[in-house]
């Protein structure tokens, strides 16, 4: 039986506070990933496209 087929009483229902916190955490992760992408993008301009090609 798929979890989606569970009757309403067996499912985990998030409280409003839990939903709010989860959304906040998701937004923070999105921001962090966005900043990381921007940093890598900016460095390709500074160092050139060969930024990842370097001697080990």
């Amino acid at each position: 039986m798929d979890s989606n087929d569970k009757p309403e009483g067996d499912r985990i229902v998030l409280t409003e506070a839990q939903k709010k916190r989860r959304r906040e955490r998701s937004i923070a992760i999105a921001w962090a990933l966005g900043v990381l992408v921007l940093l890598f993008f900016a460095v390709t301009f500074i160092k050139g496209p060969g930024v990842l090609v370097r001697p080990v």
Partner: protein, 329 residues
């Protein structure tokens, strides 16, 4: 009813073995986190991080040559995140003793906001990204040093030394002293005497700073079973050690001036600030009981933070002044 892990099965009258565990009855509801961004931010030890950022910034600024501002920003950001990751891993590993100490009882794990597993995952993720980003975008010398710093703080200090020896913060202080070295390596791709001098200053600053704290928090540490020097050797021995380390600190902090690494502005400032540290350390040594003793240790603890900030600020101002002066004159 017995716990699921202790009696999953037992013999019945008929001699057959049947499971007596009612899976439904012992199944705990999954924990749904209510931790917010602020709780995760607290895991990063933001006050410690601010000192790391500042000392790393000084290491970056006094390094010779030109660093592109974006690369400099990335280096400081990675060092800060790496320091925060170390803090999160430290809290994950010390959740059991943090709950016993009043100074740490309000941290997210003792309060039940974040589990130790969540903190561990958070810390490991940030460690990985901070090291990889610094290595990839700046240089692997700095990236490797940052990885070593995190390793030293988490494995050597937190897991190895903290609960075993009264020398925990002496040896472990190396982790807190490395950020300016990492920053210098990020700027130059190499090491030199100057960042090692900064390392030594922070290294010898750590014992008087933390032992002053430990003197007025010794009950906390004793309750948690952490063998800080005042708990193991007693307050008087700690007072003597504070004084001795302060004398060494003041000498080491002033040494770069006569050796010609930093100029006279730094030298004079370090002597003035050092005199302040010495006076307060002597006060701690002299006053051993009552409110005067407590006040002396608190004053030394507070002044030691100002001392390190001010010492590094002078180096920073010196660099800025030298950069700006040609534009004015």
């Amino acid at each position: 009813m017995c716990a699921a892990h202790s009696c999953a099965a037992h013999p019945t009258k008929a001699g057959s073995i049947v499971s007596v565990v009612d899976q439904k009855a012992v199944e705990l509801p999954p924990r749904i986190s209510e931790a917010g961004v602020a709780d995760y931010f607290a895991l990063l030890k933001p006050r410690v991080m601010s000192l790391v950022i500042f000392t790393a910034l000084v290491g970056l600024m006094i390094a010779p040559g030109h660093v592109h501002p974006v690369l400099g920003f990335i280096a400081i950001l990675c060092i800060a995140v790496g320091a925060g990751a170390s803090g999160a891993l430290n809290m994950a590993l010390e959740g059991d003793i943090d709950v016993l100490m009043s100074r740490t009882a309000n941290r997210p794990i003792p309060r039940g906001r974040i589990t130790r597993g969540e903190a561990m995952g958070f810390g490991l993720t940030l460690s990985f990204f901070s090291v990889m980003t610094l290595g990839t975008l700046v240089n692997w010398y700095a990236g490797g040093l940052l990885a070593f710093t995190i390793f030293f703080y988490v494995v050597i200090y937190t897991m190895g030394l903290k609960r075993r020896t009264a020398q925990n913060i002496v040896i472990g202080g190396a982790a807190g002293a490395l950020p300016p070295v990492v920053a210098w390596a990020a700027a130059t791709g190499s090491l030199s005497v100057e960042p090692l001098l900064l390392f030594l200053i922070i290294f010898f600053w750590t014992p008087p700073h933390f032992w002053a704290l430990a003197l007025f928090r010794s009950d906390d540490y004793a309750r948690a079973g952490v063998p800080m020097l005042p708990v193991v050797a007693g307050p008087d021995a700690t007072r003597l050690q504070i004084l001795l380390y302060t004398i060494v600190l003041v000498a080491i902090a002033a040494a770069p001036w006569p050796l010609g690494y930093f100029d006279w502005i730094y030298g004079v400032t370090s002597l003035i600030l050092g005199a302040g540290m010495l006076v307060l350390a002597i006060e701690v040594y002299r006053h051993r009981t009552g409110s005067q003793a407590l006040r002396a240790t608190r004053r030394l603890f507070a002044f030691s933070i100002f001392y390190l900030f001010a010492l590094f600020a002078v180096l920073l101002l010196d660099v800025v002044a030298k950069a700006v002066a040609p534009l004015i004159w």
